[in-house]
């Protein structure tokens, strides 16, 4: 019961915060609500025994990505920004489409059948700690995707530098 109450709180907050993020007129407010949202999602991850994921949710998502967003938002001329209409006039149509999709997808979710159960039970993860278990997998079984991810980050660095920093006209 307590668990369900906890879940109820998180779910409620996540949905409310998500709605705030996508509906606030001021982009700075959106970013701030999103920060709060990410903390709540991290809390949900803790609840699901994923400490490491919760940690990077806070450190990478909230700490790095969102701050980057905030920087860029602040680059913009906020005053002018606020005077513009923020939401497209066609939002009812979009709402209808999204709502219909939500209904169909949740209806389909009703047909969910539990997949095969693996060996990483809660106890197994607890005994090894989540970070260690994940780290071990990343460096053994998932070494290959891990290396690809490193290349993606390299491309991101190179790309960002090329696009944003270099002087024009070599």
């Amino acid at each position: 019961m307590l668990q369900q109450l906890f879940f109820g709180y998180y779910a409620f907050m996540i949905i409310i915060l998500s709605l705030l993020v996508v509906t606030r007129g001021n982009p700075v407010h959106s970013v701030m609500w999103m920060l709060l949202l990410f903390f709540h999602i991290a809390g949900l991850y803790l609840f699901l025994n994923a400490e490491f994921i919760a940690a990077i949710q806070v450190i990478v998502y909230a700490g790095a990505i969102l701050v980057l967003f905030l920087f860029v938002v602040l680059l913009l001329n906020l005053r002018e920004e606020l005077s513009l209409r923020q939401i497209a006039g066609s939002w009812p149509a979009a709402f209808f489409i999204v709502a219909a999709l939500f209904i169909t997808v949740t209806a389909a979710l009703g047909a969910y059948v539990q997949g095969p159960v693996g060996s990483y039970s809660i106890e197994a993860i607890r005994s090894e700690t989540h970070t260690k278990a994940l780290g071990r997998l990343l460096y053994t079984e998932y070494l290959f995707p891990f290396e690809i991810a490193s290349l993606i980050l390299l491309v991101a660095v190179v790309g960002a530098v090329v696009l944003a920093k270099r002087k024009l006209r070599s």
């Binding site: 996508v22 994921i53 990077i56 001329n77 979710l109 696009l163």
Partner: protein, 100 residues
């Protein structure tokens, strides 16, 4: 015990809210954030699947999704900055030089 369905429904809801934001917001940065919201929704469902299947793959995938999201944000924001330099706006309405 919280049933898995609750998590899945929550994830679907957040995903759709993100999609709604993407379809309606006129500021590129907010559109970007809406996509991040959709990715977070996926992460929620992945982590909960992982938890209920007692498997680590979901966590691994979430790890990669966050990595990619960071990379995507870096490049996306770099493009927005160079766009901003040429045209002092982050508004999508101004970005229809090409159409038809």
């Amino acid at each position: 015990m919280v049933p898995l369905h609750w998590y899945l429904t929550l994830s679907a809801a957040v995903f759709m809210i993100g999609m709604f934001g993407f379809l309606t917001r006129r500021n590129i940065i907010i559109m970007f954030m809406s996509v991040e919201l959709m990715l977070n929704a996926v992460n929620i469902s992945l982590v909960s699947f992982s938890h209920y299947l007692q498997d680590m793959r979901g966590h691994i995938l979430v790890f990669f999704v966050i990595t990619v999201a960071a990379a995507e944000a870096a490049i996306g924001l770099a493009i927005i900055i160079s766009l901003f330099r040429n045209k002092q706006t982050a508004h999508v309405d101004e970005m229809n030089e090409m159409k038809g």
